[in-house]
Amino acid sequence: MSDLSTLPHLPALRRGKPYESLEKNEVLDHGSGKAVAVVSQVNAGILKKDLQRIGEGRAALRKFTVAQLVEISAKAGDLFLSGTLPLGDRGHMQSADDYVRTLSGTSGLPHVMVRRNMTKIHYALTHVGTVLNGLSRGLPMEVIDRGYGEQSGAAVSYYPTTQALGLVMPSNSPAVNSLWLPAIALKTPVIIKPGREEPWTPFRLIQAFIAAGAPPEAFGFYPTDHEGSGEIMRLCGRALIFGDANTVAQYRDNPKFSVHGPGFSKILIGDDKIENWPEYIDLMVSSIAENGGRSCVNASAVVVPKYAREIAQALSAKLGPVLPLGPADEGARLSGFANPKMADHIDAAIDEGLKTPGAQDVTALHREGGRKMLFEGGTYLRPTIIQCDSFEHPLSNREFMCPYASVVEVPQNEMLGKIGSSLVVTAITEDPAFTAELLDSPLIERLNLGPITTMKISWDQPHEGNMFEFLYRRRSIERA
């Protein structure tokens, strides 16, 4: 057993100030089960108390211009990617390699995926100016500094919608942290409840921001319980919500919240391109399986007018044999589960779905053993391709935290009526009529026309909510 007193201790950060709680959680290595750090837990009352003074965080950020904060963000990006930063309050330091190893150890993500996520975060931080330009449609950021100004010859004024941005973070993928990064340049303090198994990324990002010159008061890091999470959502004027379909459904219509649930992202092939389907198999494989299949932009369904059986077979031949590899292996494609119960739950849910006639686990023909497997002490789910007879089948439109996709045959003219809400749709077609239908569809958040992986996102275009519009609202202004 590790001596807990010598492990790194991640304190809560209350307006940037470390706070060691008497109640701490251990963060465990997903393979060995050994504690690698302890994290201070705070009660909801502490959040309520601190949020009463959140104006101080905002005031500290207001002393900077957006341009200065954009610069600080870029510097923070470099520090995050390659710097050595404080890890907690017991004198431990964390290099970039330490971060990769630790996050991999506790989340089950192989090193190669952690690095890819780091690169995404780095890109987001070093391009905040571009991102803001895209999100605000070219608004000169001096308008945010002064509160008013001109854009394209018209008077404009924007006011902040909140004193702070609340974040109840998940543990499944570090890149989700990129969503809140523009808030700092937009002078909005963040109140973060880290995921239980993933305190590393938000803590390192905060340290990077502070080292780059951001005011510590702008950062709240509050490992807390369900009640504390509730207070973050209740008391922050704006909050990002992550969760399953049921969780996000409760918040979807409330303007205080930006919801980030399952993406149900899809690949559609039109009648005009279906005969060329073998050309797109690699694109489908990467869309389904990149990042361990954990992102909301991973494709979870392939919708085709014909050849569903052949496509399912071809995908399975590529994905079925994929096995877990050691975390440091550059070829690792699967991610372990920090919480093995989640793997049990997913495995059981797929098996339960297969009891309904009309679906086949095609990957089962291409792998030895079951879907769930233990490897070097970690729990993994192997890729799963399910061919479904129709979109009515319960497994046709599901999303799981592993490489999973259904392949469903649907006539092209029925596709948009069947697929439901989809975060990303890659539509492989050049048919003008079908393209026009896709462009008109209110169900698609991001549309890729042509053979583009669903994993591609553009930082200057919002694919899931517009952070600028979320944090600022335009008002009419007249000055005498």
Binding site: S21, L22, E23, Q41, V42, N43, G45, I46, K48, K49
Partner: protein, 356 residues
Amino acid sequence: MATPTPEAAQAQLDTQLREIIQWHFSPETGCPFWLNWAAKAGWDPRTEIHTSADLIKFPHFQDEWLRDLQPEVWVPKAYAGRPFNIFETGGTTGMPKQRIGWEDYKTDYSEFSEKISDEHFPRNHFWLMMGPTGPRRLRLAIEHLANVRGSACYFIDLDPRWVKKLITNKQFDQAKAYMDHVVDQAATILKHRKVSGLFTTPKLLEALAERVDIWDAGIRGVFCGGTTMLPQYVRFIVEEVLENRIGFYPTYGNTLMGLAASVPLTPADQYSITYYAPQPRAILRVVEPENTQKTVEYDAWGRVELTTLTREFFMPRFLERDEAIRRKPRAQYAWDGVAEVRPFGAMQKTIVEGVY
């Protein structure tokens, strides 16, 4: 107050035990319940119970007896004809457990009065109780405590059974609205009346402090009870709600046992509160859940077992729905304490505690 030696405390407890056993199991003084019980049990506690170690000869007291039987079965013959109070336990739904009594609560709270300071609870002033009143012993007990200190007390009721129902039914908005309603009333009293002493539950205290500056409102001492208070939460209350300047007196207890006071916190305690039973009138043991005859080691977790030993009520070895850490005796108590009390099985399942 000088701390007795452990031997003296044990001797005092055993004397009390023998006297109470004699009282409840003698036809001239005992109550129908225990006389009938002894007749069926086939042994006479008066001849077999000599020290507290002998108490394990009794089976665990069954709380159904307090639900299913009429209250008069608990009236000692010596008290026949004297009207009694009927007190009910906290937040349970359905038929509540009922305990009858006459003077016990006054004895307990008069004794407790000696453990709170005049600085925090000035004499001849005013108190506010915000918490479960209704059929609970606490209602009269708090008023008595205020009275013995020359003070009077305002009351704001909170019905824990209703809160429990709301939370069980996931009507969280309603629960919050009800809590706001209770806190509103307290804030109104504090605004219009001079109050220095407050009895409430930790959650209500937190909610009240969000609404009003309780120091500015005149509160100098807070007496809290009724729920789990883990060290971090205690620290939060002391440092951030009471801002290290209002006296804090956590207590543990219930209608069946009485009131276990806590020892003043020292830095070494790390905000872990230890409570001591009002011996010799009650005994708290921390026992192995699977072998309740055995006490756990010091500083180990176990289930709380309580025994009440008064002329008004004899209740041997009642297994509480709580678990706690067994602590060593500490001045001014020469017997074991219980610390960090929380619902039994709290680590295994979620338990509805509501606003307690």
